[in-house]
């Protein structure tokens, strides 16, 4: 064996060790993912149902359990993807379109009739609202309502997020959910979308 070839030996071993270490790190990151639970525990569901709304029905406090779970419905891609599926399963698009509104109000413009807090959105879906929003209390479980609310909130988000639901199979006709679609509308134009709302939400 020539000296040149035998000189490569330690380098090879070093490279192999580097690749192996990178693979180990990748596997470890893969194992760190959020454990998936297809059905929420009944006590957790019951606690999630106990939102405390203001008497006006606008805004309020989420239940303690929501913070104990680390606010999953606004922050995990899985829950937001489930919300996106629920959005199409329960035909939200028949009134709200792909977020641009229609018979129902728009989400994309970030103009929340009952405030931008997730509790208001949960209450709107669960209990319904005047002028046509039906209650979904009997058709969806409370954790599904939370998932859908997290997704709906992201449609009209003011700030960009690091998590996003799965992309559309169809053509995308509006900014992606994690790109703060509403902020775009507020920043732009000589004539704002909602002049009464001021320069920013």
């Amino acid at each position: 064996m020539s000296p040149a070839v035998s000189g490569k030996g330690p380098v090879r071993i070093f490279e192999v060790c580097c690749v192996a270490a990178l693979l180990a790190v990748a596997v470890a990151i893969g194992l760190l993912r959020v454990p998936r639970q297809y059905r929420t525990d009944p006590p957790v569901s019951a606690a999630l149902d106990a939102i405390r709304l203001m008497p006006s029905g606008i805004g309020g406090a989420p239940p303690e359990v929501y913070f104990a779970l680390n606010q999953p419905y606004e922050n995990t891609a899985y829950d937001m993807s489930q919300g996106k599926r629920l959005y199409s399963w329960f035909s939200c698009a028949s009134c709200h379109g792909e977020g641009e509104g229609g018979a129902g109000p728009s989400f994309l413009d970030g103009w929340w009739l009952y405030g931008p807090s997730i509790v208001s959105i949960v209450a709107s879906i669960r209990d319904g609202r005047p002028h046509g929003m039906p209650p979904f209390r009997d058709r969806m479980t409370i954790d599904e309502i939370w998932q859908l609310s997290g997704y709906v909130k992201s449609i009209g988000a003011y700030s960009a997020k690091t998590t996003a639901p799965g992309r559309n199979d169809d053509r995308q006709n509006r900014p992606a959910e994690n790109r703060s679609p509403a902020a775009l509308l507020f920043n732009e134009g000589p004539s704002p979308v909602h002049p009464e709302q001021g320069p920013s939400p």
Binding site: Y38, R39, W89, D138, R139, M140
Partner: protein, 329 residues
């Protein structure tokens, strides 16, 4: 004594070749053609392989006979052997190619089919539409009945991703591509229940995307089709009629159709005669009242990722709904 002991595991190994889903146990016209082709190719290749192995063993055990100087004669013999082997290879591969081409061509029989079924594959179930302008069209899901000995034209479509329609016992596979229509002709030669399976990876629940082809005599096929054309059964049972009310109130009708009622949704499987089917959820479970209830109670745990949402029901409502589903024979 030793030979039988070696043959002992053979029945166990060969049992995999039979059953309701096997290309080697062909029960259809095109399936039999394909099986003959496979068997022929395997036999020819086996003969070639045995010949090569014998030659190899012979050349390894043969001793060089010392006269290294006399190379002219051995070179000539080598030339004869090599050209003979090349000629044989060309003949065999050419012959197999022509045979394979002819067989695949004869699978695709044009002409006037006796029955046309439109297949729409979706993640992860099969929608079958029997198109009959005279007697009336009807839909089933994950289960088709066909008359024995008749040409059945299957028109293959997909609504989301690429799937593949494969009933190994009856014939070859054909892809279902979104935006285009592929054709396949099935002809079952013997009555029986043949399992089909999606043969193109199509997502999380690809393995739970099965269907059944039930080939039966003309008479019983006609009876089955006549039953399927009728609207959903009106039941006298109190529990089932309460279940019907639950079905309408809980918005199951937004996705599912039950002909003869107000339920006209089109995104989910047609449930007009769901009780008559062998399995539910594309071959996931046998169709019993218990498995129907389990499916309605929590579809996402049984088949994660499928498009049926969990709808909250009380225990009584669940029991009534599954009784209603079971009564839709």
């Amino acid at each position: 004594m030793r030979a039988p002991l070696i043959l002992l595991p053979l029945p166990v190994l060969l049992s995999g070749c039979g059953g309701s889903q096997s290309a080697l146990d062909a029960q259809g016209y095109s399936g039999a053609l394909l099986r003959d082709l496979i068997v022929l190719i395997v036999v020819v290749c086996l003969v070639v392989w045995i010949g090569v192995m014998i030659m190899l063993a012979w050349s390894l055990t043969r001793r060089r006979d010392g006269q290294a100087g006399d190379s002219r004669g051995s070179e000539q013999r080598l030339g004869v052997w090599v050209s003979g082997a090349v000629a044989a290879t060309v003949l065999i591969i050419g012959g197999l190619t022509i045979l394979s081409f002819q067989t695949t061509r004869s699978l695709d029989r044009a002409g006037d089919p006796d029955l046309t079924i439109r297949v729409r594959a979706q993640q992860w179930w099969w929608q079958f539409v029997y198109e009959d302008a005279d007697a009336g069209s009807f839909q089933t899901a994950n289960e088709i009945h066909i008359p024995v000995g008749k040409e059945v034209r299957v028109r293959l479509e997909s609504t989301d991703v690429i799937h593949s329609f494969w009933v190994p016992s009856l014939g070859g596979k054909q892809d279902l591509v979104p935006g285009r229509e592929n054709l396949l002709t099935l002809r079952a030669e013997r009555p029986g229940v043949y399992r089909g399976q999606c043969a193109e990876f199509c997502g999380l629940q690809h393995s739970h995307m099965a269907f059944f082809v039930i080939a039966e005599e003309e008479e019983s096929y006609r009876q089955w089709a006549a039953t399927q054309r009728q609207p959903g059964a009106q039941t006298g049972e109190a529990e089932a009629s309460a279940g019907k009310a639950v079905f309408m109130a809980r918005r199951c009708a937004a996705c599912h159709t039950i002909r003869g009622t107000g339920a006209t949704g089109t995104t989910g499987p047609d449930l007009t005669h769901v009780g008559s089917r062998r399995t539910i959820a594309a071959g996931l479970m046998d169709n019993t009242r218990g498995s129907l209830a389990a499916w309605i109670a929590d579809p996402q745990t049984l088949k994660p990722g499928n498009n049926m949402p969990l709808v909250p029901l009380t225990g009584d409502e669940l029991r009534q709904l599954s009784a209603y589903m079971e009564s839709l024979k």
